[in-house]
Amino acid sequence: MSAATKAGVMLRLLFISLIAAFLPAKLHAAGALNVGVQLEPPNLDPTSGAAAAIDEIVYANLFEGLTRINEDGSVAPLLAASWTVSDDGLIYEFTLRRGVRFHDGTNFDAGDVVFSLNRARAPGSTNAQRVIFELIDDVVATGDHTVRIRLKEPLGAFPTYLGWGDAVIVAAESAATNAVNPVGTGPFKFQRWRKGASVTLNRNDDYWGARPALDQVNFIFIPDPSAAFAALMAGDVDGFPNYPAPENLALIERDARFRIVTGTGEGEMLLAINHARAPFDDIRVRRALNHAIDKRAVIEAGLFGYGAPIGSHFPPHHPAYVELADRYPYDPAEARRLLAAAGYADSLDVTLTLPPPAYARRGGEVIAAQLEAIGVNVAIRNMEWAQWLDQVFANKAYDLTIVSHTEPLDIDIYARDDYYFQYANDAFDAVIADLRGAADPARRDALFKQAQEILADDAVNVFIASGPKIAVWSKDVAGVWANAPLQANDFTRADIAGRAPLPAESAGAPAALPIWAVFIAIAGAFAFVIFYSKASPAFLAGRALSMAATLAAASLVIFMLIEVAPGDPAAFMMGLNADPAALAALKAELGLDQPLPMRYLDWVGGMLMGDFGTSYTYRTPVAELMAERLWVSLPLAIVAFAISTAIGLPAGLAAASLARKPAGRAIFGAAQAGVAIPNFWLAILFVMFFAVTLRWFSAGGFPGWHVGLAPGLKALLLPAFALALPQAAILTQIMRSAAMETLREDYIRTARAKGLTRKQTVRNHAMRNALIPVLTILGLQFSFLLAGGVIIENVFYLPGLGRLIFQAITQRDLIVVESVVMALVFVVIMISFLIDLAYALVDPRLRQQRSAS
């Protein structure tokens, strides 16, 4: 069988599987709720980091605390059935619920409470709210199901703090592995986490309380607002508890399939000011900024109208809220006057640092324009979250920034020493100190009001808006929270109409094929090519040596490039309000305190042994992460490769043999147009047409191979075409010119002269010879398609290697970036080596030259 017919068979097989992909796919498991969330959590342990994305999945669903926060913000008993407080407010006696079991079958008792609270306040604790737990003097089990907690000072809101995600009760046996395999007492238990794609929770049938109606909840990660909209339209998700693209709401409102649920949110959107930098230490300048900004215009552009103006750091739905939104009315003339009085008439240069969310980027453009209008020169600096956390939050290297603070009742951050606003006011600190000890609600409200007024008077920041929590749900979904007193999505009472219960889960999804399968395949390809190429051992050894040198050089370049980057992975993982001691503990745990050369040697040595290190953020081996992603990226590249080859080669041949006919020119013209199309633009147009308008395909996402081959391939088809078509155009051009060159050769003329038809000549003589230069391009193409999926994978939110790199860059997960780039470089070098050898395979002349030299 010739190589050409083999390729033909392969193509036909692929075509059949492509057809199979069009068969209807069942994306929804019955009885399962698919929830879209914007951010993937770094891990699933709510007691180890401040990342809101953790609580959004596990709070109330998987983990439970002694108390809980209800939808209206009130505190209710949960694992503690009841409690009493001593008169001095220092001693709490909790009576625990009986008959509660952890998901691993162990019993819940007083020992777990003592363990959990002691772990949270221990010196090496990475708990983001350790500052609060340190106010606990001691925790004692006074019986199997009774616990006494003594505080160092009265803490009025203690039961509320116990209801936060940071205070959930974990078992000593499973605490260490909760990051990747969380074990709690909640109504749902952990099923699986597909990194970069989703987390699945299943109903806990042994739950102590009322069993939830849902069989399963899938949290699907969709960071991109446009992808969120597309996923909703395509029916990939049943809704978003926090819908990230407010600009589409008008459209969704008109769609009968959805309802929009607006609730009160805890977020305060701020233009934060660095008080430690001149001229912002001057209150006239800060007041000028306040007068310069038209909050309603910012809300219109940044939040698409979904927000209420505020005047201090407090949410309007709270009873203690003071209306201060018009404390500094929009008045550019007054702003100019204040600036001039401070000595900065027309000569103030500031930087405005913007984190990635749309409210900041879009709001930032409006604010910049408004500040320009009062004569302030604004330089905008866009940053990823990791950089923002490092430069703005940790190092306070900023003038102005826009950010939304979403922690509930967090006005006390203004009393913290060395917080990134660098605001200091003793009177304010005294109010917050009083608030700590106050348990009486009326007294607390009075203090809250006082605190708000001080912040407004001092014009500490420009307090712009309190954003509502905007959820979008399918009409079938009931029983979800409208309000967000904390960053959580409680699905205990949620239900979906018209969905059959889930059949018992079959033995679990097949694990991703191990990464060594890929290496075996590569080795096989090598053996094949080396055997058939009959290349001399000297030639092979020479090539292998230079390949190793290239790899070594590349690894050094990658390592140096990345390790000198600004940004601290530990700070990013810990979230906004992390405590420095906890940060140091985490750094030591990750080995970030080691010197650079040691880290390089560790990394390279590990890779040689097949160990790519452990991801900082996911806390799983990088090799495992890559293996998972490879089963998306590799098939995507293969399908795209097949498409571009199947189109490009025949089209190029046709264009060459019909060069002077209109059809040939048409193909040539189409190819010239095709190379000029950016693949991501094509992808956007595809989504627009095939997913949103025609609804033939889902707008993105990947169901996983465990649901079957056809749905998996179907999900890859649009991205593969978007990736392949511009490449096919390149291939057409190259094939055409290669074929035209061979068509001018003497042996072609001879073949024609001896009576072969033009078709026969092309098929039997021209194509084979023209393939030689085309081979190089084919190899390069595959590398390009594998890596070039980065953007396409992002447009279609496919959990592939490209997206892994992108997420890792923004999360400063250095070891993942290094290892994935290195792996891709490895593949590219391997392929170019293979192609070198393949030349010898198709062209005996080269083989002779090489063994001669």
């Binding site: 607002p225 446009s226 453009e365 324009a369 905008i380 866009n382 050089a553 594998l786 890596a787 953007i791």
Partner: protein, 281 residues
């Protein structure tokens, strides 16, 4: 008129002239935008938000009420400047390296070629994203990120072309006349390989425009409020279903500009470097 014009440029095809015209139009657009645009691209006009194409705004307005045509005009600047500088880096560093490699042979040549292999081994886009992400987004870093990948392209091309020139008789006679390798490289080799380099530069220019658009699309190109085509596309994505003009026109701009550059490059190749792809006989 046109026929007379055609007679004066007999070696360029109609397609090449069309390409030149497109490229010139975009360059002109970028220049004009320095002095005048139909609307200001930095002010915000809440009243004109998300307007469909109209007489006042021929290509519509975006979510901030900014005029899409004006943004495309200003965006052309970023595209042209970043791409040109990136290719200049590649040509300016790559060509001398290639000439040096061809002139010196031996270890130096190996070193240069091995270095290009290392850079070539990086997937281009990933390298660009890596540089831009590590050193912060911005026009300058985009230039460097794209430029770095252009260096080995020109180094290899220059070396290959130069090697064949070095075998020519006139180089041999120059050598016997005692000219130094440097002088031979500058006086004999460079002028002879210049056409090849110019053709390649056009090709690289169109690739650089695409790369710049890709980087801007993922937010690593020119920073706001300065508009760029890639970022306009990224911004448009959530609004594509009710404001399709936001996605269509910036994409068309990229497409047309790259298309024009390709047509021009093709024409130049046929004119300056006929050996690489002769016209069909």
């Amino acid at each position: 008129m046109i026929a007379r014009f055609r007679r004066r440029l007999p070696h360029f095809s109609a397609a090449a002239l069309a390409g030149a015209a497109i490229v010139a139009a975009f360059a002109l657009m970028g220049l004009v935008s320095l002095l005048w645009t139909p609307h200001d691209v930095t002010t915000i006009d809440a009243g004109a938000r998300l307007g469909a194409p109209s007489w006042a705004h021929p290509l519509g307005t975006n979510h901030l009420g900014r005029d899409v045509l004006s943004m495309i005009m200003v965006g052309a600047r970023a595209s042209i400047i970043v791409a040109t500088m990136a290719v200049a880096i590649g040509l300016g560093l790559g060509a001398p390296l290639g000439l040096f490699a061809a002139a010196s042979r031996g270890v130096a040549e190996d070193a240069v070629m091995r270095m290009s292999d290392v850079i070539f081994a990086f997937p281009a886009l990933i390298l660009a994203i890596l540089i831009a992400a590590v050193y912060g987004p911005g026009a300058m870093n985009a230039v460097i990120a794209i430029g770095v990948f252009n260096i080995p392209v020109f180094a290899r091309l220059a070396r290959g072309a130069a090697l064949s020139i070095w075998t020519r008789g006139y180089v041999l006679s120059a050598r016997t006349a005692g000219k130094s390798a440097l002088r031979i490289s500058l006086e004999h080799v460079l002028p002879n390989i210049a056409p090849v380099l110019i053709v390649q530069a056009t090709v690289q220019l169109s690739l650089a425009v695409l790369a710049e658009a890709g980087l801007s699309y993922v937010g690593l190109g020119v920073q706001p409020p300065a508009p760029s085509w890639g970022r306009m596309l990224a911004d448009s994505q959530t609004m594509v279903s009710f404001a399709p003009w936001l996605a269509i026109f910036p994409g068309l701009a990229i497409f047309l500009f790259v298309f024009g550059l390709n047509l021009l490059g093709d024409g130049l190749r046929r004119r300056l470097d006929p050996h690489r792809e002769a016209r069909p006989a």
